[in-house]
């Protein structure tokens, strides 16, 4: 665990010595700020629903930029050889990378707490949906990042890793539509179940359903598992 955290810490620090973290954080805050102020002006409602509802597309767009470097760059530069010959398990490397990226996402989310402060100061927001909304974002973000970690483990080219992550996320995002297309069949319900946003909307509405939590957690675990298998495969090739 100690070495997992060491890797996570290194990744998190690393974001802040490259422009990536600043650009992504700025983009994230611009989008959130825009949504927040527009809906506040328009609906005069003390909630963050507009941010919460639009979060899937924001994360789908931004998180590949955060994860593309993680393993691809280590492979390209050869530093992976030191990581994989240090007394660290492959899954610890993968988990550390994931936690580093998640750390940055949490930092970005922490900055949006300013909106919560504004709502609490000038209005009387419903606190439940705020909490569940944030939980939803963290879980959803966990999935978008873990898919990015997985695609980053597959290639040594950052751009390829980002594009693969995009495609994967868009497929998950659109799979609800694919499910509808197949109607009530078994295949249709599988696609509907995989829909990234369908499980998320409950959180945004203030509902924490354990089946939704399980959906996100199992997707995260599956992606990270596959990523560590992909590292292991690299050894055998």
């Amino acid at each position: 665990m100690r070495n997992t955290l060491a890797i996570a810490k290194k990744e998190l620090n690393n974001y802040f010595v490259s422009p990536v973290a600043y650009v992504v954080t700025a983009a994230f805050l611009v989008l959130c700020g825009l949504l927040f102020s527009l809906s506040l002006n328009f609906y005069r409602e003390a909630s963050m629903r507009s941010i919460f509802y639009n979060m899937p597309i924001i994360l789908v767009l931004l998180s590949p930029a955060l994860t593309m470097r993680l393993l691809a760059e280590e492979t390209r530069s050869g530093t992976i050889e030191l990581l994989l010959t240090a007394p660290v398990q492959d899954w610890e490397v993968v988990l550390g990378k994931f936690l580093g990226a998640l750390g940055l996402l949490l930092t970005m989310l922490a900055l949006t707490l300013l909106y919560v402060v504004i709502l609490l100061a000038y209005g009387n927001p419903d606190r439940g949906p705020l909490l569940s909304g944030y939980l939803g974002i963290i879980l959803l973000g966990g999935v978008t990042l873990s898919i990015g970690v997985l695609t980053s483990s597959l290639t040594q080219n950052q751009i390829v890793a980002a594009i693969l992550a995009f495609v994967g996320l868009l497929v998950l995002w659109l799979s609800g539509g694919v499910g509808n297309f197949f109607g009530g069949s078994a295949l249709g319900s599988i696609f509907s179940y995989l829909d990234l946003t369908q499980h998320y909307n409950d959180f945004a509405n203030g509902l924490i359903d354990s089946s939704n939590v399980l959906y996100y957690l199992s997707l995260i675990v599956a992606c990270l598992f596959l990523a560590s298998k992909s590292l292991e495969t690299r050894r055998w090739s």
């Binding site: 060491a6 530069s77 010959t85």
Partner: protein, 307 residues
């Protein structure tokens, strides 16, 4: 300390190494010598647990490199051929990171120590990307020494350094022997004769020779060779020398020199000397010739000569 048995590794259908077998005793410095693409890096990567062998076993300090990989990795310091560095980190942070993932206690002291041994302390807070190649190489070495490993595996540790740095690194490696077991790969011959106790020569994925540097040179000779220098030699000198007991062949070297090959243990020097002197020539020089490791290496690895 290290036992390698029948180690074989295929990349697809192509064998990179085949039935590589050798042993390294504690405290030895083993030179892993071979031309490029002979399988040196593959062997080292297998030992460090970076990739599993297709066949065969390797043990480090009694632990199997595949089954007990983590235990092996704890005991090995590894410097790959292309020094893997994070250019955006400072030297201190870089070493600190590896100290942390190795779970070392007294992290700061270890980092300082490694920096001091490798002489990079004056650049501790410089970004690695801004360092010269020589410094980067030593940072890589510091990383390998951080946890004071029992075994050091260094893949081409002096490539890309200037002559002064090469000497420094070799001295450093030599000073590590005795306490630590070192395997270093190289295709530079003097490096082996200067730093290593023992040498394994590998070619096309197979071990072609393994011995101490000295004995290997002797063993390959098969015959003793003597160098003679005669003042103003006439054409008949070679014939004269050939008549001496034990002499197998005589070959002129340069204007006044002769290389005399003779049967092992025949000791023809007194006979050669008196033959030259009695014939009225001036004997300028008479000395036994050792085979340089370079010649040994070429003899072992070049196919034309083997045939």
């Amino acid at each position: 300390m290290i036992q390698v048995e029948n180690l074989t590794k295929y990349y697809g259908p192509h064998p990179a190494i085949q039935d590589v077998t050798f042993q390294v005793k504690k405290g030895e410095i083993l030179g892993f010598l071979g031309p490029n693409a002979a399988g040196k890096t593959t062997t080292m990567r297998t030992l460090t647990g970076f990739m599993p062998p297709t066949r065969g076993t390797a043990r480090v300090a009694g632990y199997d490199v595949f089954a007990d990989s983590i235990e092996v990795r704890r005991r090995i310091g590894y410097m790959p051929e292309t020094i893997p560095l994070y250019p955006e980190m400072t030297v201190r942070d870089y070493l600190g990171f590896f100290a942390e993932i190795r779970g070392l206690d007294q992290k700061d002291r270890r980092v300082d120590q490694a920096m001091e041994i490798c002489n990079v302390g004056d650049r501790a807070d410089t970004l690695i990307g801004k360092l010269s190649k020589g410094y980067q190489q030593r940072v890589g070495l510091a990383q390998a020494l951080l946890h004071q490993p029992e075994v050091l595996i260094l893949d081409e540790p002096t490539v890309g350094l200037d002559p002064k740095q090469i000497i420094e690194v070799r001295e450093l490696i030599k000073s590590l022997g005795g306490e630590r077991t070192v395997i270093l790969s190289t295709h530079i011959l003097p490096e082996v004769s200067q730093t290593c106790n023992r040498v394994v020569i590998i070619n096309e994925g197979r071990v072609v020779a393994e011995d101490t540097t000295e004995r290997l040179t002797n063993r390959l000779q098969g015959a003793e060779r003597i160098f003679l220098k005669v003042q103003a030699p006439g054409p008949q000198v070679a014939a004269l020398l050939e008549k001496a007991p034990g002499v197998l062949s005589v070959e002129p070297k340069g204007d006044e020199g002769f290389e005399v090959e003779c049967a092992l243990g025949s000791e023809p020097r007194p006979a050669l000397a008196s033959a030259v002197v009695q014939a009225g020539y001036g004997l300028l020089e008479l000395r036994p010739m050792g085979m340089s490791l370079e010649e040994v290496f070429l003899k072992l690895t070049s196919n034309e000569e083997k045939a």
